[in-house]
């Protein structure tokens, strides 16, 4: 089935270049390959060599028919338009950063105090673990300006908050993650330094 091959490209984990969304969109409009074919696209191929051999699979989802391919496929997903190139992406009203390694007993005030000095915090999400009721371990903070968010990241990444080391980084990005170990061979070769004579 031709559509199976197209789908495999769409989900190829190795793909680290900017995805051709238009191309993918046309592919997505075509009739879908059955569920198991998509599975093999995720597990199979060169990717398994990265993580050491074939994957162990488990669950009824591998044995049941599903109509998932008609749902998350397609190109008509809304996204915020942004400039090309790498780097953080602005959200609709500001810049969002992620704080990880947050102490389970942290309060919103602790984050306000630590992060408020870089600019007014427009939004703070300090989500709780649904089982324990303690802080899950991360916080999302919104600043109005890029500069405020950038200052917070450079000052607080690796800092200590309530006895724990926290990490701070941007939450959203302009484009796909580029995986260093997933470059096509030809591209790696082209980057090697010139030979000296």
């Amino acid at each position: 089935m031709a559509s199976a091959d197209v789908e495999a490209v769409d989900f190829e984990p190795e793909e680290d270049d900017l995805m051709d969304e238009d191309g993918a969109a046309e592919a997505d409009a075509s009739p879908r390959a059955p569920f198991p074919k998509l599975k093999s696209a995720i597990t199979g191929g060169a990717s398994s060599s990265l993580s050491g051999g074939p994957k162990k699979t488990k669950g009824r989802g591998f044995r049941e028919e599903s109509d998932r391919n008609t749902r998350l496929a397609g190109s008509d997903f809304d996204s915020l338009k942004s400039a090309d190139g790498p780097g953080p992406q602005r959200s609709i009203e500001g810049w969002i950063i992620l704080v990880t390694g947050v102490h389970e007993e942290a309060q919103e005030d602790d984050l306000q105090n630590a992060f408020g000095e870089f600019g007014e915090i427009k939004n703070l999400h300090l989500n709780l673990d649904r089982r324990t009721g303690f802080v899950k371990g991360y916080a999302l903070i919104e600043y109005e300006s890029f500069e405020e968010a950038e200052k917070a990241i450079s000052a607080m990444d690796g800092a200590e908050l309530l006895t724990q080391i926290i990490n701070v980084d941007w939450a959203f990005s302009h484009g796909p993650i580029r995986r260093k170990n997933a470059r096509p061979a030809r591209e790696r070769r082209s980057r090697s330094p010139r030979r000296r004579y």
Binding site: G59, S91, T100, K136, A171, F172, S173, G175
Partner: protein
């Protein structure tokens, strides 16, 4: 889980919950792709609501936190063999690729912990039940902060 597994290796996650009924196919679904793309779809036909479909690229830091939540839950050790099967009331699907493991679990909708307790695998189903809530909470925060919408 070893630290290197959090940093390297493949990662993919998809969660679906939905049912087909009087208002058509109503569902919520989200997906974290290996390249960082988060896709979110929420289709409710009730009162002619339209489908919400959003996508945004996440940084490696956000994917790493997602992986941490999953590995802390130890969901990869579970099995859906003894979980209630999807039924007319609804269906949930959780598919995760992490390291060299790939799970694709299905079960019915879980109304409350009473359903968990009365199942044949309360311990495993409880892990699923709380993980799904934690993941939804994470995704809803990301989507609502980025797009300024109420995701549900």
């Amino acid at each position: 889980m070893a630290a290197e597994d959090l940093e390297n290796g493949e990662f993919y996650l998809r969660y679906y919950v939905g049912h087909k009924g009087k208002f058509g196919h109503e569902f919520l679904e989200f997906e974290f792709r290996p390249d960082g793309k988060l896709r979110y779809a929420n289709n409710s036909n009730y009162k002619n609501d339209t489908m919400i479909r959003k996508e945004v690229y996440l940084t490696p830091a956000v994917l790493r936190e997602c992986r941490r939540i999953i590995s802390d839950s130890e969901i990869m050790k579970e099995d859906d063999n003894n979980w209630p099967e999807p039924d007319r009331v609804g269906r949930q699907e959780l598919e995760i690729v992490m390291g060299n493991e790939h799970i694709s679990f299905t079960t019915s909708k879980i109304g409350s912990l009473v359903d968990v307790q009365s199942s044949k695998d309360p311990e495993g189903l409880r892990i699923f039940y709380y993980l799904v809530q934690d993941l939804k909470c994470f995704v809803f925060s990301l989507i609502s902060l980025h797009f300024k919408i109420k995701p549900i």
